[in-house]
Symmetry: C2
């Protein structure tokens, strides 16, 4: 009878595709000699084993705080960590006490990734539209696809989002009667994954103002989901304030931050700053997911922040990534054909390279195969573009990470890739 049976899987499960990156990871594992410039992993050598060990020891050596750390916490997160997080953001944004940065608007999450998922759950029904940067973070595109949402790409300029194009997209959606399906603009605002671009504060404030003008036609608020995952991986230039600092717009901003990337990715503690009614909705949904992020990890972060170990580590990372980025920059200058364009990196983990039109980078391209034959892996740019009926996906770009590869492997990897590029350019 089995052959007559349909699947019991939900529509969501049937929509959920294998993540594009899983094939890349499997390829990496299967070829131990391969140099991966694809992985978004952070730098291994700088992971703070000593700081975490010391924090753990201090937490667990006395029975009372030790036991508290090993017991359940509350869904919203440890109250002191929420306070420290609010203070941390006020410091980064250089603002005084403001209700937008109150500890009770902070939710502690399992990495910032969990907040992206919860935000999508809380705001979007199947068929709804999210505006994303073109290109954008591919795991967010996975959420969009899995949850039956549609994405519309907004072009980027050197200083971030192309506001004229954002207006154009919104106007076109208004004309076609689809504006009522638009719930949010997703923006990876600092050292974007994949391009490395930072959207200026002025542009974020302007984007919020623009979105507001379309709310009447939409019939509901349109939110800005600011993904600041790479914010503290800055090694050049000045920090930009977050969208929370845009006067009068904080009730439209969902800020997603993380302590994992700038400290230890194995700890997976992120946070959100949310306005009502989203704070309540997202907290309730998180209660159903896991009723709170592992308390021991929260206590460890709290301890690392309060003791100054966290800030010290962020400073060390700054020097480390500045160096690794310089190594990649030098190798790109030396080994890549001049026809390949790339911008300098000021933070984050990535360089983004644009090849001449016609030179394809996709997993089935000759270039990708040649790179693989030379044991070097990159992320094809195609994977970072939403399915958007309004444009074809560019297929001549690549994301190159200096996060996890060693300096020697960065040099050697770019050299091999440059050689492969030479055959096709």
């Amino acid at each position: 009878m089995l052959w007559r049976m349909k699947t019991a899987l939900s529509e969501l499960a049937r929509r959920t595709a294998a993540p594009p990156i899983s094939w890349l990871i499997a390829t990496t594992l299967a070829r131990p000699k391969l140099i991966s410039l694809a992985a978004g992993f952070t730098d291994d050598a700088s992971l703070p084993t000593r700081a975490v060990r010391d924090s753990m020891h201090e937490i667990l050596r006395s029975p009372k705080p030790g036991r508290a750390a090993l017991q359940y916490g509350s869904t919203a997160g440890d109250p002191r960590l929420r306070e420290l997080t609010a203070a941390h953001l006020r410091h980064l944004d250089d603002v005084g006490t403001r209700k937008e940065y109150a500890a009770d608007r902070v939710l502690i999450t399992g990495g910032s990734q969990q907040l992206l998922y919860l935000a999508a759950e809380a705001l979007c029904d199947p068929g709804d539209i999210v505006l994303v940067e073109d290109p954008t973070y591919f795991v967010f595109l996975g959420i969009v696809q899995s949850r039956g949402l549609h994405a519309r790409g907004v072009r980027m300029e050197r200083d971030g989002l192309d506001l004229a194009h954002l207006k154009q997209v919104l106007d076109s959606l208004r004309r076609s009667g689809q504006l009522r399906r638009v719930k949010l603009l997703y923006l990876v605002s600092y050292f974007q994954n994949p391009t490395g671009i930072t959207t200026s504060f002025a542009k974020k404030a302007a984007a919020l103002k623009l979105l507001k003008q379309y709310e009447h036609a939409a019939g509901h608020p349109i939110y800005l989901l600011e993904d600041a995952a790479y914010r503290e991986l800055r090694f050049a230039g000045a920090d930009e304030p977050s969208a929370l600092a845009a006067p009068g717009f904080a009730n439209r901003v969902l800020y997603a931050g993380t302590y994992s990337k700038p400290f230890a990715t194995g700890l997976r503690v992120g946070f959100g700053v949310l306005p009502e009614p989203l704070l309540t909705a997202v907290t309730r949904i998180k209660g159903n997911h896991d009723f709170g992020t592992a308390n021991l990890l929260q206590q460890t972060l709290k301890h690392a922040i309060a003791s100054g170990r966290y800030e010290k580590h962020v400073g060390e990372l700054e020097r480390r990534y500045a160096h690794k980025a310089a190594v990649m920059r030098g190798a790109l200058e030396k080994y890549f054909p001049k026809a390949v364009q790339w911008d300098d990196a000021h933070g984050g983990l990535y360089f983004w390279a644009r090849l001449p039109r016609g030179v394809k980078t996709g997993v089935k391209s000759k270039l990708f195969r040649a790179a693989l034959a030379a044991d070097v892996l990159y992320v094809p740019g195609l994977l970072c573009y939403a399915d958007d009926p309004a444009r074809a996906k560019p297929d001549n770009e690549m994301r190159l990470s200096f996060g996890s590869a060693s300096e020697a492997n960065i040099r050697e990897g770019i050299k091999r890739l440059g050689k492969a590029l030479g055959k096709f350019i």
Copy 2:
């Protein structure tokens, strides 16, 4: 213009109610002298601060394993922890090597709670029906409500699920044409939350057989989601094999287990054993949630299991909860009116008490208010029943936890509650 605007919240968010327990928790926090027999927290005094500290120290003292623990892992979880988990289950179920217990069917999750959520996402669309025990775990009911599912309650007997009633419910759903919406039976099979009842292996096997008979009419597989969260909190009697051990039915069983409750709830590491196509679907969805449970927690559990610390702790907990349950049993015998019925506990964290009909226990009842005035809190039974049009919710029961209260507070709490009961019985 704000007054014209509708909410941007999704249907899911608008459905998601405040968890009933949040009011109870807020009440507890607001009254520091209150004795809570409501919380599902585990015993504070037995939390393994030493074992976790030692494991952390051993993991983090050498750079190589230390850094690996602080780096991202894979979505499915640490390969060695998956192997240890498979072996652990084979040991508990007393079976040899079988493909149903293979490491590659194991998924590591953020507590077993996350697996419950992921399973509901992967199997159920809004409008689908899940069969639950009557009463059942109220956070699962929160998932059901939030995701727009409908629940049907199946009565329980002393040795678990009432199979005749399960058949009756399935027949009634078939007659009304709703069987095609039935995706799963959710069973808290060991020392159930809230009743403390364990469903025998024979009954689990019989339930699987029965469900299979309705698959043809349903048009798709009907799964058994076995929530074994309390399995290792056993302090009397013998263990029952899991539903995975039922010959020929493992492709219909989702097993949800946890290392948090029997070790440290602040660590939040659970696991699932899943058949295809659910394993793939659930793993992909988890990738979108968090791309893997915090690696440091996984390494800690792996270390605690491999070193024997985990098993040693489970043995200590057995003695500890046996004692605390004996304290509550003694107090119930001494202080509760004879008209109140309750069964002996052999594991888990709870006693379940049935008051004479007409004596209500709900949050608005005179009894609940009298208990609160005497500074003692319980979970009203009402909260543990699904909204099921086929029956009225019993309102004369209460869940009493001996998990987190001290022995002295268990005695004093039951004494106060007995006194309050005396006024109404």
